[in-house]
């Protein structure tokens, strides 16, 4: 059977079940508020949101793969494009743009002009250090850690070159802090050889 063609973000978005956007936005807002009450420290809330996002990401990635039919990306550039165009569209209903690549092709920015998480949000003075959307960066980090890619720059797409992607995701611009868009920097920090690195002849 020939491989099934990957589906576009729009096509998947049209076919998956959706919830009311306000219910989603308000639920997320309530979670952030509760975390602020429980943890008191803004820094701790950032960490907690990131951890929650990570836990979501490691599960969500399978749904993404199952429903989008995307095949293995050949490099990190393709990975970033797929996240921006298919991943964001499928789960958030918006698309991101990928910019600011560094020379090695291991760091880039995902820019969100529109972000349904912050529809009604105004950050009070007491929460200035809060990365309100930190759950998103956690999701990306978790999801990428679960999939493997071919080691960047190596020729020959062999299974020997398969690595799992460890990333660092940081916020560069945040509309809640007065910037004109949301921008997160995704940095591929380490590619860990996965599965069977054992070789008899080494």
């Amino acid at each position: 059977m020939p491989p099934v063609a990957p589906r576009s973000g729009d096509a998947i978005f049209a076919s998956v079940e959706r919830v009311n956007a306000e219910l989603f936005t308000l639920t997320y807002g309530a979670i952030v508020r509760q975390l602020l009450t429980d943890l008191e420290e803004v820094e701790e809330v950032n960490k907690q949101l990131d951890q929650m996002g990570y836990n979501i990401g490691i599960r969500l990635i399978d749904e993404f793969l199952a429903k989008s039919n995307v095949s293995r990306c050949v490099d990190f550039k393709e990975t970033a494009e797929v996240i921006a165009k298919v991943g964001f569209k499928m789960f958030l209903g918006v698309t991101a743009t990928v910019t600011n690549w560094d020379a090695e092709g291991t760091t880039c920015s995902l820019v969100l002009e529109d972000n349904p998480l912050v529809d009604f949000v105004e950050l009070p003075d007491t929460c200035q250090g809060l990365y309100y959307c930190n759950v998103l960066s956690g999701v990306i980090r978790g999801a990428l850690e679960m999939v493997s890619s071919y080691l960047n720059g190596r020729l020959g797409l062999s299974v020997d070159n398969l690595v799992s992607m460890k990333t660092e995701v940081t916020w560069i611009r945040d509309m809640l802090r007065g910037d004109d868009a949301f921008e997160m920097q995704v940095k591929l920090v380490k590619q860990v050889p996965e599965e069977y690195p054992y070789k008899d002849d080494e």
Binding site: R59, E63, L65, V159
Partner: protein
């Protein structure tokens, strides 16, 4: 009529996290199913290394006199495989569908722990529907 004998799901480290048999043929006890799962995991890994095809993702079909074994591995490393009557059609579509059911009813269950044996009733129910003979044929369309 072609029949599905049994269905296995193994996690990325080779542990059996789900096993179900359908009908009497090829029924196995718990020890045998665990053994088959870890054996298949290793054989799958070896096949990737031995394959003359570059970027081979492992064995997809094992054909024997009395059964066919179809395997699907997701990009996250979870393997789904069915043992079925020789010549059973539409098993790729079935495995793909089982993967979707797994993401919907197992991974989205907040009380399911990753990489652990699957005990989710909703998954069992939807799986039972999918594996019914006439349904499998529908998936192929």
């Amino acid at each position: 009529m072609a029949a599905i004998y049994s269905l296995y799901i193994i996690n990325k480290s080779g542990g059996l996290i789900f096993y179900k048999d359908y009908g009497s043929a090829g029924r196995m006890d718990t020890n045998d199913s665990l053994r088959l799962a870890s054996l298949w995991h290793s054989m799958h890994a070896i096949s990737q290394q031995l394959s003359p095809v570059p970027s081979c993702s492992g064995i997809e079909l094992l054909q024997a006199d009395t059964f066919d074994l179809h395997c699907f591995q997701s990009l996250t490393g979870t393997k789904f495989f069915v043992v079925c009557e020789p010549g059973t059609l539409h098993t790729e579509a079935l495995l793909k569908h089982v993967y979707e059911l797994y993401t919907d009813f197992v991974l989205k269950n907040p009380f399911y722990e990753m990489e652990m044996p699957i005990r989710c009733e909703l998954f069992d129910i939807s799986l039972a529907l999918a594996v019914q003979k006439d349904r499998v044929a529908l998936l192929g369309r």
